[in-house]
Amino acid sequence: MDGTAGERAASTAAVQLSDVSRTYQRGQPVHALVDVSLTLPHGSYTAVMGPSGSGKSTLLNCIGCLDTPDSGTVHVDGREVTGLSDRDRARVRGEEIGFVFQTFNLMPRLTAEENVALPLVFQGVDRDVRLDRARDLLDSVGLADRTDHRPSELSGGQRQRVAIARALATDPALLLADEPTGNIDTETGATIMDLFDDLRDEGHSILLVTHERTIAEHADRIVHLLDGGVERIEELGNRQPEGTPTDDRTEGS
């Protein structure tokens, strides 16, 4: 792949990482990420696997603009984000990234629809508009009858559906899911994974971190991390992202 193609990929991909390194100072330096390059095309569904300490969380945080790499660049929907101010990175998080956490991370005092509408609060969207959108999203994840419930009144699976609806609120370029079935029983987990499959079919780009092979196999490909680097990329050939040439593949580092 030549440079021009690479630049085009950067401008069209949901996320592109180039030579990203991140080192923490914890007494002695911990190399969480070492020269990682990775492209997530629009509409792709990627799983990240690896033992603990392999850099999964750091990768997620760097893509999600919660953390800043020490070197290398991260493009989110064509925009370079590593050099942005705190304020602008917050904006990118709000507009381009949708987080789904293992522990759901819903606001305990807000109702389901208010939780889903929360990202829109920080975008300055009118209350009526954002609550309408929240109800639509809850409807689409099958929780139309739970809009006024608090998180404590919902089951684990329902909470995760609310969290997924919230992640979709601003129609982000990428969904980042960190062990989304980690706190849910297997049966419910399967329905959550079905939901991700549906989202992928609707054209959403998804990056999912898991340590379970069966979960990872829902994705188009699995990125295996080891000691902060990409060990190998495993293509599953489930589906190819629509409108993406079959040879537009990403090279590992």
């Binding site: 956490f101 991370n105 300055g124």
Partner: protein, 412 residues
């Protein structure tokens, strides 16, 4: 993030911790209530004192010997220094209509029939004191009609009320006594104030100066003369009171009073305006002092809010992380916590203000003062409550804004 949404979320948080919010704002409530109570007391006290200086006092100049400088109010440590020679000279001053000496005759009681009313003193003065004063019966004493004037309260102390023409016995403290006829009953329960208008309530008795026996040897003439602690000069024209005051002051320079006055004291001529101003200053200073103490409790209230906000930031670390993950900027988080602290302050002020007014009402009732409300202070109190909230919330809000979202999301 819109302010309205911050408000909505803050209200929800405050409601979510009702007991804690109440305890947090208690400091502000007490502080604001205390400030308003004391200010109301001060303002009411001032109004009460100044109310004694009626409009009728506009043409009066009040002479008194008082400690030099700013030390005392009128009548404070009054020394008897004004001799009859001084009074004659004052009467000769241009623009003076009348000169009224006021002295006090030490008595133990005033008796009539079987009833004896204990009283500490009877005022010795000249008839001009009663100029403009309404009588229920009779009138002022004068040379052709010597006798005693009493106020309505004094008259009602005796069975069947004292009426003009009846005789009372004034018992001096030295054991002797004298019989006098009642010549006038005032139409008021208050006493006649030498400042014009009326003074405080209670039985009051007035005798002509001929019953007054405090004397001194006049330094100028060597004669033995009556000497008075207070003199009120009435000007012909209230409009020229400034000029009269100046001439009276000049006349005092060569008076017996100037020679009789003790070291460290001075004889001054003050108009009502001067006195009102001086009393006002004294009351203001007292009010400020007491209010200053109350302000300390506001400070304690601020510390309370700051403390609870810091706890709240810590408790909600994870929520802060969530908000940041879904796009909240540092400024959004700062705003949210600042609004919450401000609301707590406002809440305290809104509860504290009516409590303070109630406190002011109770205190003034107890002290028998007219209730005067200082509305500008209420507005100030609410503003202070809000400011205290903002001030107390600044650091906690700032520390909330600085929370690292990665750490916060991991926080249990």
């Amino acid at each position: 993030m819109e302010l309205g949404e911050s408000l909505r979320m803050s209200v929800r948080t405050i409601r979510g911790h009702k007991l804690r919010s109440v305890l947090t704002t208690l400091g502000i409530v007490i502080g604001i209530a205390a400030v308003i109570t004391f200010v109301t007391l001060g303002v009411s006290l001032k109004a009460d004192i100044l109310g004694e200086f009626g409009d009728s006092g506009a043409n009066r100049i009040f002479l008194v010997a008082s400690p030099s400088g700013d030390g005392g109010g009128p009548g404070f440590g009054a020394q008897s220094v004004f001799t009859e020679r001084d009074l004659d000279r004052l009467r000769a001053v241009e623009g003076v209509r009348a000169v009224i000496p006021v002295g006090s005759i030490p008595v133990s009681a005033v008796d009539h029939g079987d009833r004896s009313v204990a009283t500490a003193d009877v005022t010795a003065t000249s008839p001009a004191l009663f100029d403009g004063t309404e009588f229920a019966a009779g009138g002022p004493f004068n040379e052709s009609r010597p006798g005693i004037v009493v106020n309505r309260d004094a008259a009602s102390q005796f069975p069947g009320n004292l009426s003009v023409g009846e005789e009372v016995t004034v018992a001096y403290r030295n054991g002797t006594s004298v019989n006098v006829t009642v010549v006038g009953v005032l139409a008021t329960d208050a006493s006649v104030s030498p400042f014009g208008g009326f003074g405080s309530g209670g039985p009051a008795f007035y005798l002509p100066t001929s019953y007054y026996d405090q004397v001194v040897e006049s330094p100028s003439t060597g004669e033995t003369q009556r000497v008075y602690p207070q003199v009120t000069v009435i000007a012909e024209n209230p409009g020229e009171i400034g000029g009269v005051q100046e001439r009276v002051q000049r006349s005092l320079a060569a008076s017996d009073a100037a020679q009789l006055v003790p070291d460290g004291y001075e004889v001054t001529a003050r108009t009502n305006e001067d006195i009102v101003e001086r009393i006002g200053n004294v009351v203001d200073r007292l009010t400020q002092f007491v209010t200053g103490i109350a302000v300390i409790s506001l400070l304690v209230g601020a510390i309370g809010i700051a403390n609870i906000m810091l706890v709240s930031v810590r408790e909600r670390t994870r929520e802060i992380g969530i908000m940041k993950a879904v796009g909240a900027t540092n400024r959004d988080v700062l705003q949210l916590f600042l609004v919450e602290a401000t609301l707590l302050g406002l809440l305290g002020a809104l509860v504290g203000t009516p409590l303070g007014i109630l406190g002011g009402w109770i205190v003034t009732q107890y002290a028998d003062l007219p209730l005067v409300l200082a509305y500008e202070w209420f507005a100030l109190a609410i503003a202070v409550g809000v400011l205290v909230g903002i001030f107390a919330g600044l650091y906690p809000a700032w520390s909330a804004a600085k929370v690292d979202p990665i750490e916060a999301l991991r926080y249990e």
